[in-house]
Amino acid sequence: MYTLKGVSKTYANGFTALRDLDLHIAVGERVAFIGSSGAGKTTLFRLLNCTLRPTAGTLTVDNVDSTKLHGRHLRQMRRNIGTIYQQHNLVPRLRVMHNVLAGHLGRWSAARAFLSLLHPLELDSAAAALQRVGLADRIFQRTDQLSGGEQQRVAIARVLLQDPSIILADEPVASLDLALAENIVRLLIDLAEQQQKTLLVSLHNVRLALEYFPRIVALQHGRPVFDGKPQGLSTATMQRLFTDTPAHQRPEDTLYGHSHVPIDCRFLT
């Protein structure tokens, strides 16, 4: 499915998140990525879901070079990859149904998308997806009224609707308590297994990774230092992974460069 050869990513501010990375992921695999913050997991995922392009090396998805994708083809490729983010990244002011129905945007025309905002189209599909994640009764609520764990499940419902063949989950459970985290990881795995989707998850909780995933890739300083079965991961390697953290930046800061301040019109008199 994915073939990465010599992939590097350096941001505009000079920070190199990935160095000369080689990776191969086959269709239907379930892989967990571990490593400390700043190791490059987030950047890797954003390369894998075609949000960013590598500054060096080649990344092929489904035998297509990602940098050659533009316009309609790029959208089609993105439609086939579902991403779940740590901060769920839903639109807070929209109702849950719209956030879930956004999973259809890759298929819908702009006109349909607009009409759906006025009166939701294909509402049943959204209801079914929310049912799978156990939030059927929240369909008409405003998204920012839900708790963190619930919003994450809404994000999963959206990916369900999108029905991609690859699911990427970037630290999906980092901000949730342990019991909830385990539930969500199990949910993701069930969904992937039922429909033979490729599932790539990055986790900072190594225990979850070792317990549920047949393949572990460990990243450090933007390179893989381990790639194999969980049994092969020695305590020594694990210790090395999580100490020796470089001076890093938060991925969000690197991506967006600054903290944005909302405009307050109160003072314009």
Partner: protein, 287 residues
């Protein structure tokens, strides 16, 4: 289990906020349609061939702009005068509002943090409250009356010319700034003030060393913003006789000197851009 579309619709119809949005939208639409019909505004006359022709003809008459040296000299003087009116007017506003601020700011009044004992005589406290409401009312009056009308008023008092413009801008802007300044001062962090007062400072000291330094960036920012607004207002005040480019605008319009008109408009445009740039520069260095 998944809901059927019909029951989903029923649930949505019950959601109160959703319904309000549509109602307000419809009311607004009705208002707009009625306005268009009632005001006799004919969209066809406006945007149709006749209206477009008229506007095109008008624009054509303005080109090329009149760039004769005599006119340019007058425009230059007018521009300087307009700039001066806006600058002085804003300064006057700051001074005037500063005078009224003492009364109009709640926290500069009786408060335990400023060393006034809580058991001030009732008469004193009533008097202070009265002063507050009076100052606020005065400031409200100042800002409610638009600059143009103040200009007419002051022309009555001091005659035509830029002086009336300065007074008009000063008074109106004093009302606006007074309220903004009072809000800023009231929202300042109280703790440094309490510390100063505990060390024996008088109210004036507390204001100068405690409140003012904290409030200064915001105060300056508002003042600069009003300067930007005032340069636009100053350009217009001349139209009713208060000096500056506005006066020349009046003449050019009434004598149908369209090419002069374009020059004047270009001058106003440049002036506004200049002040906006200066204000941005000052903001970056001072705020």
């Amino acid at each position: 289990m998944a809901q059927s579309p019909a029951s989903a619709l029923a649930t949505m119809a019950r959601a109160p906020r959703l319904r309000w949005g549509y109602v307000i939208g419809l009311v607004l639409l009705a208002l707009v349609v009625w306005s268009v019909y009632d005001s006799g505004l004919s969209v066809r006359a406006l945007l149709g061939s006749e209206g477009r022709r008229q506007m095109a003809l008008f624009v054509q008459q303005m080109f090329p702009p009149d760039l004769s040296p005599a006119l340019l000299r007058k425009v230059w003087q007018g521009a300087l005068e307009t700039l001066a009116i806006s600058f002085l007017g804003t300064l006057l506003a700051i001074t005037l509002s500063a005078v009224l601020l003492g009364g109009a700011t709640r926290t500069l009044a009786a408060s335990a943090a400023f060393g006034e004992s809580v058991t001030m005589p009732l008469l004193w406290r009533l008097g202070r409250a009265l002063l507050y409401y009076l100052c606020r009312a005065l400031l409200n009056l100042f800002r409610s009356v638009p600059e143009l009308i103040w200009a007419l008023l002051f022309i009555l008092a001091v005659g035509l010319g830029p002086f009336a413009g300065v007074l008009a801008l000063g008074v109106h802007t004093a009302g606006v700034l007074g309220r903004l300044f009072a809000e800023v001062l009231e929202n300042v962090d109280r703790r440094p003030c309490e510390t100063l007062q505990a060390a024996g400072a008088t109210r004036v000291h507390v204001f100068l060393y405690g409140m003012l330094p904290q409030a200064l960036p915001d105060l300056l920012s508002f003042a600069l913003y009003r300067w930007e607004v005032n340069i636009r207002a100053a350009a217009i005040l001349g139209f009713v006789g208060a000096g500056g480019l506005g006066q020349q605008l009046f003449i050019a319009l009434n004598l149908f000197l369209h090419q002069q008109l374009l020059t004047l408009i270009a001058a106003i445009l440049l002036l506004v851009i200049l002040v906006d740039l200066c204000s941005a520069l000052l903001r970056r260095t001072l705020v």
